[in-house]
């Protein structure tokens, strides 16, 4: 009969990689009114809801006297992915600050954060927009990419399958917060003045997968 010495120990090696120290990259704020500034909006062809909300915000930016520049991303890899990343780089050069969305799935949140970080790396104010289900993931990814202080605007979840008038109401409700995170020194009465008018626009149909 074999007797095991229960006091015996083994020396093993820890299998985990050391976690890098959190990097706090500098963040930037507009610090001025929107008028005369060029503000970027990064959309993603995957999300009808975000195209609508970004469109609403585009109008509000122009109402406030800003010039807007939209860039749409559609791919993560391949020729399309390389083109998207080049476009983000060029877009970052051309704007004074930008709003990047939408993170409402795992990989699209990762890439939204990556593109927002790319913008911030150009020393420009940058806000990434995500839905609440993906907030923690967005903050984690920002931290992993060395930009743990990246501004994150959190919208309700889910956005998909909501009717357009609800999405417009969400756009209106979160607009002041978007301005605040961007650091725009906008007069509060002006930022909140615009009301939702669903009848102004054509209805858009069809939910995405």
């Amino acid at each position: 009969m074999t007797v095991t010495d229960t006091r015996a120990t083994l020396t093993i090696r820890r299998p985990t990689a050391p976690r890098p120290e959190p990097v706090r990259a500098p963040t930037f704020k507009l610090g001025t009114p929107l008028a005369g500034r060029r503000i970027g909006l990064r959309t993603d062809g995957a999300w009808r809801s975000w195209v609508l909300i970004a469109g609403e915000w585009d109008e509000r930016l122009r109402d406030a006297g800003a010039e807007t520049l939209q860039v749409e991303t559609n791919a993560q890899i391949g020729d399309g992915g390389r083109t998207d990343r080049r476009n983000i780089d060029a877009w970052s050069d051309e704007i004074d600050g930008g709003i990047v969305g939408l993170g409402t799935c795992g990989s699209c949140t990762s890439f939204s954060v990556q593109d927002a970080v790319a913008l911030e790396s150009h020393s420009k104010p940058s806000v990434v927009v995500v839905t609440s289900e993906f907030e923690t993931h967005a903050r984690n990814m920002a931290s992993f990419l060395g930009h743990g202080d990246l501004e994150v605007l959190v919208l309700p979840y889910p956005l998909e399958a909501r009717p357009d008038d609800e999405l417009r109401a969400i756009a209106a409700e979160y607009w002041p917060k978007a301005l605040e995170l961007l650091g725009a020194a906008e007069r509060p009465d002006r930022a909140a003045a615009r009301t939702v008018r669903p009848s102004e626009r054509d209805q858009q149909g069809g939910a995405t997968g």
């Binding site: 120990t9 090696r13 984690n140």
Partner: protein, 356 residues
């Protein structure tokens, strides 16, 4: 070889269950018991590779932990992987770190996708890699069961990938425990996958596929190989495939694992594998009318609809990838659908000169 190990040492009771309990408490494990990564076990693995322990394979997302050969060996030692098979683990990680595989997206997505390891080369048997009956589960080859799991543990412990935390996968899939199988090259009518991808037939090669799951196909009625391939093509072009979500049909590969009996029939009809792929591609589409009206407009907006109102699964025949494996019982194939935004990558297995 007398390598100097630098990873942190941990004392654990020699009781067989102690490491298991520790791994669960520390979050090292995948829920299944592990073997102790002692220095002897780690050094035995390191002896099989030409890389030094401090060689960096790369930074593994999502947390970008630095995968040194030593850390990869520590994780591999916990699965019981042999020194013979260890270089396959390294090759798999090297392939996964090619940017076009999109580890950044695949490790964080809501999708079930995971690294599926397809192995070619003369070292399959010695490494214990299954490619015959039950090769995707059940055959219990030591290499198949430990290589895939080692890669999975590396993603977990070095890359920091944790379902529900850093990975947003909604369902996951069994392959997240590890999926590694070989091609039955000797029964294939065509050059091996690795050779088709430009590797030498004498090399052991790991091809990493971002596969969403194992999608079973079956038939007992078709005598004409073209009819059977036609139905395979229609089956892999299912309307809710990831491949139809994006406007980028040029990204992504769909693997069709064919049993050797079917492959023999297909090989007679199509002696060149490219012709078989072309035939599959010719039929891997759905009519636009399959989708509801709203989806039809989205597909049009994304440029996915051709002049004949067809929506093709992928942009080119090369993206449909036959892979011969499985038992001789025929009747079945398995598709490994693509995540879409991922292109399969291959890496040759490198061994230390003089090792097995």
């Amino acid at each position: 070889m007398s390598a100097v190990l630098v990873s942190e040492q941990v004392e654990v009771a020699a009781d067989p269950t102690a490491l298991y309990e520790l791994s669960l408490a520390e979050g090292w494990g995948d829920g299944v018991p592990l073997l102790p990564p002692t220095d002897d076990a780690v050094l035995a693995l390191l002896d099989a590779t030409p890389y030094s322990p401090d060689h960096v394979v790369g930074a593994l997302p999502p947390q970008y932990g630095v995968a040194t050969i030593e850390l990869v060996a520590v994780n591999t030692a916990m699965t019981g992987c042999t020194a013979e098979a260890f270089p396959f683990v390294i090759a798999a990680l090297e392939a996964m770190l090619v940017p076009e595989w999109n580890a950044f997206g695949l490790t964080t997505t809501t999708s079930s996708v995971f690294a599926m390891l397809l192995v070619n080369g003369p070292g399959r048997d010695a490494a214990g890699i299954d490619y015959r009956a039950g090769c995707m589960g059940g055959a219990a080859g030591r290499g198949s069961m430990t290589i895939g799991r080692s890669v999975s543990l590396c993603l977990r412990n070095i890359g920091g990938q944790r379902a529900g935390e850093t990975s947003r996968t909604v369902f996951g899939q069994p392959a997240r425990f590890g999926l590694c199988f070989g091609e039955w090259e000797e029964r294939s009518p065509w050059p091996s996958l690795a050779v088709r991808r430009g590797c030498a037939a004498t090399d052991d090669v790991v091809t990493v596929h971002g596969g969403k799951g194992t999608f079973p196909l079956a038939d007992i009625h078709n005598d004409d190989p073209r009819d059977l391939l036609y139905l395979i093509a229609k089956s892999i072009a299912f309307p809710l495939s990831n491949m139809f979500l994006s406007g980028n049909p040029e990204n992504g590969d769909v693997v069709v694992a064919m049993n050797p009996m079917w492959a023999e029939r297909f090989g007679k009809a199509f002696p060149a594998v490219e012709d078989c792929q072309q035939y599959l591609w010719d039929h891997a589409w759905q009519p636009l009318a399959v989708w509801p009206e709203g989806n039809q407009q989205i597909l049009r907006d994304k440029g996915r609809v051709d002049a004949g109102d067809r929506v093709r699964l992928v942009a080119s025949p090369a993206q449909i990838v036959p892979f011969v494996c499985g038992g001789l019982g025929s009747l079945h194939a398995v598709a490994l659908p693509s995540f879409g935004e991922s292109q399969m990558q291959s890496a040759a297995v490198l061994r230390r000169t003089g090792s097995a």
